[in-house]
Amino acid sequence: MTTHEEHAHPQLGFVRKYIFSTDHKIIGVQYIITAMSMAVVGGILSMLMRLQLGWPSAPSPTLEGIFPTGFAGGIMAPEFYLSLVTMHGTIMVFFLFTAVLTGGFGNFLIPLQIGARDMAFPFLNALSYWTFLLSCITILGALFVEGGAPLGGWTAYAPLSALPEMGPGQGDGMTLWIVAIALFTASGLMGGLNYVTTLLTMRTKGMSMMRLPLTQWALFITAILGTLAFPVLLAAGILLTFDRIGGTSFFVPAGLYTASGVAVEHSGGHPLLWQHLFWFFGHPEVYIVLLPAMGIASDILSTFARKPIFSYRMMVYSMSAIAFLSFIVWGHHMFLSGMNPILGSLFTVTTLLIAIPSAVKTFNWIGTLWGARIQFTVPMLFAVGFVSTFISGGLSGVFLGTSASDIALHDTYFVVGHFHLVMAVAPLFAAFAGIYFWFPKMFGRMMNMTVGKVHFWISFIGVNCVFFPMHAMGVVGHLRRIYDPTQYLFLEPVYGMNQFISIAAFILGGAQILFIGNFFASIWLGPKAGKNPWNATTLEWTVPSPPGHGNFGPELPVVERWAFDYGLPGAKEDFVMQTEAPSRVESGSG
């Protein structure tokens, strides 16, 4: 199909239009709504964890009614707690963040912002979503099989993950986990190839790479990261499956036996191989989540600062540097793993190197606000929240990236606080910012901004009450993945803090109902939105909300300038659309 014919799409029935759709906008929204549903599950799991951590083994007959095995006798079982840990982490990392940021915003925004009618491979795109949905169903299935969900954490360290006899949930639950992750990586690969191809070949006339909005740069780099990192996880999962059912020993050494003295029939494998493979994927994965969040936050910050992003070029270079470095820092998860300590030094150096482009980005966000004229819309509030939580979580990463200070902090709540702020809260805030911002383009209506503001204030205070004190708990030594911290006397100073965090977490969790209610109510009840409700400059705001199939009118837009002409001297308004040709009164633009 040529682009000229494409806008003449035939009328489609409801099912083809909204369900088995190949329209990138529908697929994007499908990703967002599916990921939100997964987030509800992941969030409820974390509330149960907080219940146990705040009031260890408190009897709860109500919960026994809901989870007869998990709460047998009215008290949460340790293996049930650990299955919550595993499933919360897995669901949030893969099925919420990766899905919503790349699958959701990637699909919705790439063609709209680069001036294309759809993705390069619309069918592959739909297939990617349906594979993702299948992986969601599979991972949720792990909660219902005999033995329950796996208990080894989202990192699934071998040999715990390789040997079903090492614990409840390590049988069928673990098998489903691997299948779900394999399906997810397949879905991610289809998406990634599609994004890279679309961004390289389908940009409209005038849309040079250096005129792309930063969201697009972020999605481009993320797609490359995903395409290189996901196959490694897939391969590791396949090897793990061979170990579990094929009698191989990639990850299991000789001489092991169970607690009842039964010898394990494996020999010759190495447990650290799993960690190397997992983190070779796992660290880029952090940036697969974080980079799109950075891109979205950058664009939204600039829009509501009514001021160009500070140092666009450095933003692009630093994202590229982060992406490259993310492949050579994985060993900082393994300082205490028994890996050669010389490698510990090497990975300390590369890890602190990655702090430099991260610092550049922080300077640039703050620089963008210097001399701005900030409009405190809900997307802007969340974008500022993103910057603040990214700073907090990013700086605490320096302690963990330095091998010597990691010794005391490894596997403590310091780590939990760090990664939640930097790769859960920060991306979550960017995703919220993005949803409030692009909701009118998705559904043609605005979300309720009063509810949105309440949502922001509770969330911003909430996340800082929940996750920042975890650093202090980690310094005291509070171990992560611990079912009952009151087992340890040295943790006595932080028993109370656990309760404080739990209460804050319940309030924070409850506040998210505001968002979900606002989201669904606004689809039908929100005030109608015009083409460009935020006075933004990028291409998606030149077309009706929501745009029709094919996105643009008979002619594709022609791009004349970069995406950040806010407050341009000499211009009539405080923003200039990317499609507007330069006039002679302008003093300059990127």
């Binding site: 030094s345 550049v360 606000l369 603040s388 310094v475 009952d484 340890y488």
Partner: protein, 275 residues
């Protein structure tokens, strides 16, 4: 409306957001300075240098934290929208960028060097010849401690000998005849170097003694060496710090640092009848 004329406005949401950020900075700083939430009491020789690295990183990141969150708070408070006044139109300053990048790089380089000197000291210094050797075996969900006995040599371990009373399959013929095995209890002597040989018989565990700043994975198939010198006598908690299965949370043990060699020897003797 003209560029550079207006100055922005202090707005209500700007003040609330900036104020919240400021409060957050103050509370966060307090959390890290107060000794209420500090490390457990330091009881080992090498631990001081580790705590030192933590403090160095804390100072550097603390300054960066207050500066960046503070600037963020200031700008959101100071630069609210003011009617149709335009923002300043500038979007690059290569010199400032280079200074900030250079400064960050230099600071991080110093941190890396300092941190790595300590890291090398710990991992690349051999324990003294006379250090006491203890084999520590992690298994779901207990710690087994083995001392080589009078001959100073560990006996063989054989998986076929594993039984409910012989957790590690110790062969009592040969060098293993006088080995001393203790379940969940480890003893060492004050100011005497100890070398720990970490092993596991099932999944990955982590030998963690918070007061001694000792934390090291026990990996099945590997024997990993770690050493320490305890500087305060007393009872310490040993935890498993790597998720190892359902009852990971109660995979505990006790470490006693005896004041004198005599106390230690007495404990050793008490262990003998149980062999």
């Amino acid at each position: 409306m003209a560029n550079g004329v207006g100055t922005g406005k202090v707005t209500v949401p700007g003040v609330v957001l900036g104020g919240l950020l400021a409060i957050f900075v103050v509370i966060s700083t307090w959390l890290f300075i107060t000794d209420r939430y500090w490390f457990t009491e330091l009881s080992s020789e090498h631990g001081a240098s580790l705590d030192g690295v933590f403090i160095a990183v804390l100072i550097v990141t603390g300054i960066a934290f207050v500066a960046t969150q503070g600037l963020l708070a200031y700008f959101v408070t100071r630069y609210g929208a003011n009617g149709d006044e335009k923002a300043s139109y500038w979007h690059d300053n290569p010199k400032a960028e280079m200074i900030l990048i250079g400064g960050t790089a230099l600071t991080l380089t110093i941190l890396v060097f300092y941190g790595q000197l300590v890291w090398y000291d710990i991992y690349f210094t051999d324990p003294p010849e006379d250090s006491m050797v203890v084999e520590v075996t992690g298994q779901q969900f207990q710690w087994v401690f083995r001392y080589p006995g009078i001959d100073g040599e560990f006996g063989e371990r054989n998986i076929s000998l594993v039984s409910p009373t012989n957790f590690i399959g110790l062969d009592r013929n040969g060098a293993g005849a006088d080995d001393i095995v203790a379940l969940g209890q480890m003893h060492a002597v004050l100011n005497q170097p100890v070398t720990v040989l970490l092993r596991s018989t099932d999944v990955i565990h982590n030998f963690h003694v918070p007061h001694l700043r000792v934390k090291q994975d026990a990996v099945p198939g590997l024997t990993i060496e770690n050493h320490f010198v305890a500087t305060i006598a007393g009872e310490y908690e040993i935890a498993c710090a790597e998720l190892c299965g359902a009852n990971h949370y109660r995979m505990k043990a006790a470490l006693t640092i005896d004041e004198t060699e005599a106390e230690f020897d007495q404990w050793m003797e008490e262990q003998l009848p149980f062999q």
